[in-house]
Amino acid sequence: MTETNSADIIVVGTGVIGCLIAEQLLDAGHSVLMLEAGPRVERWQIVEKYRNLPPVTVTNLDAAYPPSRWAPFLDSTSATTAADYLQLEGPNARAYRQDYVRYAGGSTWHWAGICWRLTPDDMRLKSLYGVGRDWAFDYATLEPYYTRAEYAMGVCGPSDPELQWPPIRSKPYPMGRLPFGPGEQKFTDAAARLGLKNLPSAQARNSGVSYDSRPPCCGNNSCIPVCPIGAKYDAASSLPRIEAKGGKILVNAVVYRIETGAGNQIQAVHYFDPNGQSTRVMGKLFVIACNGIETPKILLMSTDTRNPRGVANSSDQVGRNMMDQPKLVAAVMLAEPAWTGVGPVQGSSIMQTSQGDFRSEHAGALLRFNNMARSRLGAMQALKTGLVGKALDAEIRRLSACTAELTIEHELLPDPNNRLTLSSLKDALGIPKPNIYYDVGPYVRKSAEIYSTPLVKQLAHEMGATDVKVTTEFTNSDHIMGGMIMGADPTDSVVDVDCRAHDHANLFLPGGGAMTTAGCGNSTLTMAALALKAADAMVAQLAHA
């Protein structure tokens, strides 16, 4: 075993959370070492890999990111590869096939960039509706961090409060909203006729102007799997800036153990290189920011005499309350063209359907028009018809233009039975694979049955659908939350209001795992806000040390 020189702060994970924290601490004058399990690649390499994929991988949006042997993740190329890493069980195992990448820059490489905030009500489910949990603080406490996160990432959004979600803001968005493509406009108009408001999404994407030396969006419509020009914020874009500020980034360093010492302080983390050689890294403060699956996995692996259930786990809540927004999808055939695909892959959602007194009975849902271009889907479908020549051309055009997809994302409650444990199966370095039990539960099922599915059908018909098929099997939204749940009570939560582990004064576990409730919107902005709150606490803690 080798020992490597320490830094003030050791950040495990180079995704959006790790990068935001690293930069805050560098700006405050501290030394930062970041450890990344996966490799570091240039944007153009991903872009070219993606563009050279065969069309059949169109639904396999992580194909441009092949996992490395030493840092595996779910690879959806085939049913076999998909089952290889994440071990999923329970009634809704399929709905926890979370897409994330273990690459420098993390999963914002292939996020859609959507930056919804939670609403005040989303944070008080227990007191308002008698379900789930209440957050340990209110919306007003989080609001300044939401704003900072929007400025750190460069979020565009509407200036009209009527179109903001929620319209409770201390500052305008850094950039104005992006316009709707024709399909989204059609959906917006249909919603309006039903009394529903389709809101322009807040999104970490440059609208009309540059931000942080990144260019404005020019509508390549490939946000997932990669923005080819960096108009969408991704954490990878901040890696050179972190290095320019003096931060060190070590890639292909797979952290597998957190070591505790006197007073149950964290002493070091241990990582394997791709050949299984181990190195011990010391620091003053430790941040584990490897997303909601890999972080609980490392915590559970790190058992010692002081922490027999794993680091940070005296509450037995590590790996429990795993959340996401269980998704259903409506395939819609339209009489008239919708021309999906102009602009980013997502640009709007109906949010009001996530709120209401019904939440004491069933989940709310977000409804949206999927703006991912349909030309490849249309072409593949048309090819199956056996048509040739001009008839084939015409059918490709029709299917590309006159089909659409509407998406429902449900709010899932924190449930300790939805749980990540360590599988007996090991990866190439001998590290246990994550095992997750997942059941969306009656709260979501009831919503799908009596609320969200009927609503989405109504919307489709209002758009002029000639055929609507809504899936019944829930799928993943890739918003991994809950595994290091935040709370005021150390006996039923893992981290405090600053994402500091209740059990270890110098261990921070920020990100989606710390979220107490999930809401219906994409989780990244809340994760980023929590990261900045944690960074403030870390700077204060180092100042007092």
């Binding site: 390499q45 070219e48 563009r51 609208s207 009309g208 030396s213 050179p240 800036r241 290095e243």
Partner: protein, 468 residues
């Protein structure tokens, strides 16, 4: 279109604020206009810094020069300058304390500024600019350039001593244009090649010069080497917006458009172009039609369908880094925001601008909106960092595919641009010359000493060993 609409709103807000802040004193208003025409802010306002507070690091071929604080601060700026001291700085390159300025300050051009215009500029800098009491870093050039007295000799040779006499044979527009081009706009500072002593070379006015990382091309009316093929409206449009059919303003010219030319009145833009169309045409060696070279094309047929991320191919680097905006065949966008790469002076001319554009990008804001291209590693904070070798590969590919030239761009070419452009041989030569002088002096001393010793030896009949 959306981009422009969004931008238009922001622009209106900015110009409205500007209008409110404008001083009612007509002399100050005139000075503000002249300060824009003279592009004082280009050097005297650092990025993100306060207006005219200086501190911009200017990479010159003889070392880094920091621009001075020209706010009316009495401690850090020019607040103690009298009108005549101000005039001497502008027209003679002499500071209030008598020290000489380096010709990074274009006083050889400002020498033509008229007395009334000096008065207006003085009024503006004293009354229209907010004082900033922070002193910028001091300039310390390497020996022998650190001896500011050396500039006196330089001025004797290269500084013209008087203003321009109106030429009655020419139109008022031509005379006004000459006054602006030769004076405030100081076009020759960049566009005229520099000689050994950093002076503007005579007989080569506006024939093209290297300005750090960027090349200011030939703007004489020569049909092949210059801009003789441009119509007057094209030239006016370029100066105002930075956009011509086959050229875009970037680098130092982008700054000139953003900070200076876009604010010129239509009649002054007309005057500038009237004059520049009449300067003597100069043809450069090996002229190329930089506006007409190249054609659309790509290597896609040999790339798609294969899993390729081969960094040794310029075409792969091009598709992965450039084509998402400039389009797969290099044809650019339909609305002109993303320029075509063929029929484009940046790719069609054999100078440093293609590499500089890739390294540093474009960021030019006018009433027309922002034109932005990210840099690919010129700044350490750029999100995409291409190596010298990768940029050499992609630039060679772009020049061949879209610029009509098979001349390769080397890694060294890129390294030179990355370090801010070629450095002047002046520093080295001066040091060598002085070194030679020192060696010669030492040698002479040794010879004299030997002679004396020989003489001594012969007188004392003793043999003296003279070590050498």
């Amino acid at each position: 279109m959306l981009r422009q609409a969004l931008f238009g709103i922001a622009w209106l807000a900015i110009t409205a604020l500007h209008a409110m802040a404008a001083d009612a004193d007509p002399l100050v208003v005139q000075g503000d206009y002249l300060a824009k025409a003279s592009d004082c802010t280009a050097c005297h306002t650092a990025p993100g810094g306060k207006a005219f507070a200086g501190g911009l690091a200017i990479a010159s071929p003889v070392g880094t020069i920091y621009s001075s604080n020209i706010t009316p601060s009495k401690t850090a700026g020019i607040g103690l300058y009298t009108r005549d001291q101000f005039a001497a700085a502008l027209r003679k390159g002499v500071r209030r304390d008598g020290a000489n300025l380096y010709p990074a300050m274009p006083y050889t051009a400002y020498a033509v500024l008229s007395d009334p215009d000096i008065d207006a500029l003085y009024a503006y800098f004293m009354k229209g600019v907010a004082p900033v009491d922070a002193a910028p870093p001091k300039t310390s050039l390497p020996f022998p350039m650190n001896i500011r007295l050396s500039m006196m000799a330089w001025n004797l040779i290269f500084l013209r001593d008087s203003g321009l006499q109106p030429d009655p044979a020419q139109s008022a527009a031509w005379n006004r244009g000459r006054y602006l081009v030769e004076g405030a706009a100081h076009c020759s500072t960049c566009h005229t090649p520099r000689g050994f002593l950093m002076e503007e070379r005579s007989g080569q006015a506006f024939a093209g010069g290297q300005v750090g990382a960027w090349y200011a091309p030939n703007i004489t009316p020569d049909k092949n080497s210059g801009i003789g093929s441009w119509s007057k409206p094209t030239l006016i449009g370029y100066l105002r917006d930075g956009i011509a059919p086959a050229a875009r303003a970037a680098g130092t010219m982008g700054e000139a458009v953003e900070h200076s030319f876009q604010y010129l009145t239509p009649s002054d833009l007309d005057a500038v172009t009237t004059y520049i169309e009449t300067v003597p045409a100069v043809e450069n060696a090996n002229p190329v039609d930089r506006f007409g070279e190249g054609k659309p094309g790509s290597d896609l047929a040999s790339m798609r369908g294969a899993v390729i991320d081969d960094a040794s191919r310029g075409s792969v680097l091009f598709q992965g880094n450039c084509a998402s905006c400039h389009a797969p065949l290099g044809q650019g966008g339909t609305d002109g925001y993303f320029p075509s790469l063929f029929h484009n002076s940046t790719t069609g001319a054999p100078n440093s601008n293609l590499v500089a554009t890739i390294l540093y990008g474009v960021n030019r804001t006018t009433a027309h909106g922002q034109a932005f291209m990210p840099g690919f590693g010129g700044a350490k904070t750029d999100s995409n960092q291409l190596s010298d070798h990768e940029i050499a590969l992609v630039a060679t590919y772009v020049r061949a595919e879209y610029g009509g030239s098979s001349a390769a761009v080397s890694d060294e070419d890129v390294a030179t641009v990355r370090q801010g452009g070629p450095s002047s041989p002046l520093v080295l030569l001066a040091r060598v010359a002085i070194g030679v002088g020192v060696v010669a002096a030492v040698g002479l001393a040794v010879i004299l000493w030997r002679r004396r010793h020989r003489r001594d030896a012969s007188q004392s009949q003793r043999s003296v060993q003279t070590g050498s």
